[in-house]
């Protein structure tokens, strides 16, 4: 495959940042089909329209996901990318690999694909970019038999679950994100490998409200670690920060001199619920008002720790539809037990309740968050058998949540209003 002239793309090699154009050119020396990616992209820049056609029936036998069919709509001009399918590999929990495993994956992809990868896609998967249909089965065989890795989810499947580092490396973690992620991945193999829903469904797990996997923004079902009791305060640690013995933010942002640590300005005044204050040199927190934002703990990790009674908050329905714009998940269950000893029974029960309802009520290509918006949060809470709480309210007035049921009203909906008005004149 010949090189193409790419004056527009070449612009993207200027400037100090790394350039995918440079990467592609380097890769093209080994894999000439990469010239055709550059050529087709240049044409798209010129025509101001994509030349990828998407969709197809490609896949490996027994699976209905993990491979996304991609075809060029100008295959005669760019035969190297006539077929250019994407393969998604289920990443290990928290993306922990040995370098040997990464080498094996790269070698496998040099053998069966373009050699180009995307580490990692926004679903969490390792994304292997560009192969032909006839390579899929041999690739899949070696992947599963020699590398002991599996494909991830795509289409209307459960997407590859993903989680933060969790207890493996992070003292903030309130739940074992890796255990939960791995358990649900194994438990829902059928849903990951074969389409199961009216549209995609994503799980993501973060150990604490810092939410390093951005579960609240990117998943239909976000499990975010939290605590029920009080933030643990070590007053000696607080004094250490006040005296300057400890560097705030564990040394983050230290590229610049911010002056002496000011607990009032840097912590107390920034608490979103205004629930912290000093009494002399003792730090006080009104925990009933704390919204678990993590700010104070992030600034003073040697003085403050998450509480001991740990579990998770479940938020449902993040999505980024093109027309409406991005939408965060809605806090649905303030606190739930996340218990590996009972195989995460409580979490699974919530998942399946949501699925049963959404599969029935959701429209084609409607994410669960859109279904909730369509029917209203009160209806969703009723279905989920959750008692509404003030934290379910986004803002007063625009989403009222107290509705009377017919059985709660004297005389029900059929009562004689005229008779009632006689006694309760307006």
């Amino acid at each position: 495959m010949p090189k193409h002239d790419t004056p527009l793309l070449d612009e993207l090699e200027k400037g100090p940042w790394p350039s995918f154009v440079t990467d592609l050119k380097r890769q093209a020396e080994k894999k000439p089909e990469c010239w055709d990616i550059l050529g087709q992209l240049e044409l798209s820049f010129k025509d101001r329209i994509t030349h990828w056609k998407h969709g197809g029936i490609v896949g490996v036998f027994g699976y209905g996901g993990g491979i996304v069919g991609r075809y060029s709509d100008v295959p005669k001009q760019f035969p190297g990318v006539a077929h250019f399918h994407t393969v998604r590999l289920n990443q290990p929990s928290s993306k922990f690999y040995s370098s040997a495993k990464l080498r094996d994956i790269c070698n496998l992809w040099e053998k069966y694909g373009s050699g180009m990868t995307n580490m990692h896609g926004s679903t969490g998967d390792l994304v292997l970019l560009g192969t032909k249909t006839e390579n899929l089965e041999p690739l899949f065989y070696e992947l599963t038999h020699d590398l002991k890795q599996d494909l991830g989810g795509s289409g209307s499947n459960l997407r590859t679950p993903s989680c933060c580092l969790g207890k493996a490396r992070c003292e903030y973690s309130c739940i074992d994100t890796q255990a939960l992620c791995h358990h649900l991945t194994m438990h829902y193999q059928d849903e990951i490998h074969r389409p199961a829903f009216p549209y995609k469904f994503k799980f993501k797990f973060s150990g604490c409200p810092n939410d390093c996997v951005a579960a609240i923004a990117r998943s239909d079902f976000a499990v975010i670690g939290t605590w029920k009791d009080d933030i643990r305060i070590d007053q000696a640690g607080v004094k250490g920060y006040l005296k300057g013995d400890y560097i705030p933010n564990a040394g983050a942002h230290s590229g610049r001199d911010w002056g002496k640590f000011d607990i009032q300005k840097e912590v107390i005044d920034l608490c979103p619920t205004g629930c912290m204050w000093m009494e002399g040199d003792t730090l006080k927190i009104d925990n009933s008002e704390c919204t678990r934002c993590m700010h104070c703990i992030n600034v003073m990790p040697r003085a403050l720790r998450v509480g001991k009674e740990q579990g998770a908050t479940i938020c449902v329905g993040a999505k980024a539809p093109i027309l409406d714009g991005a939408q965060f998940a809605t806090m649905t269950i303030p606190f739930i037990k996340v218990d590996p000893d009972n195989d995460f029974e409580e979490v699974i029960e919530v998942i399946e309740k949501i699925w049963d309802w959404w599969m029935e009520v959701g429209k084609n290509r409607e994410r669960v968050g859109e279904t909730i918006m369509r029917v209203g949060l009160p209806t969703f809470l009723t279905v989920m058998e959750i008692t509404p709480a003030p934290q379910h309210i986004k803002e007063p007035r625009s989403n009222p949540y107290v509705f009377w049921g017919e059985d709660e009203v004297e005389g029900g909906w059929e009562r004689d209003v005229k008779e009632f008005r006689k006694r309760n004149a307006q």
Binding site: H54, S154, E360
Partner: protein, 84 residues
């Protein structure tokens, strides 16, 4: 009363072969038997894929079902063009 699994599969296949649109969403099959739970309908449709009677068609973000041979097949398009 809900259909038996075989009756359900027959109804799904019939719909896939006769519907005006060749490619259908899983929800389009729910009406084959309103008494069967959506997850059971999904399982029956996926069984038909395993048996080679239906195929998946996926855009990458959504998956649809089609009777074998009715799906829009990009691979066939390529062959057809080459044969021209």
């Amino acid at each position: 009363m809900a259909l038996s699994n075989d009756e359900l599969k027959a109804a799904i296949l019939n719909k896939a072969m006769t519907a005006p649109k060749p490619q259908l969403y899983i929800k389009d099959f729910y009406e084959c038997d309103p008494d069967t739970k959506p997850r059971a309908v999904k399982n029956a449709a996926n069984d038909l894929v395993k048996e080679g009677k239906l195929t998946f068609w996926s855009s990458g973000s959504t998956t649809m079902y089609a009777a074998k041979g009715r799906a829009k097949d990009e691979e066939l398009r390529d062959t057809a063009e080459e044969n021209k």
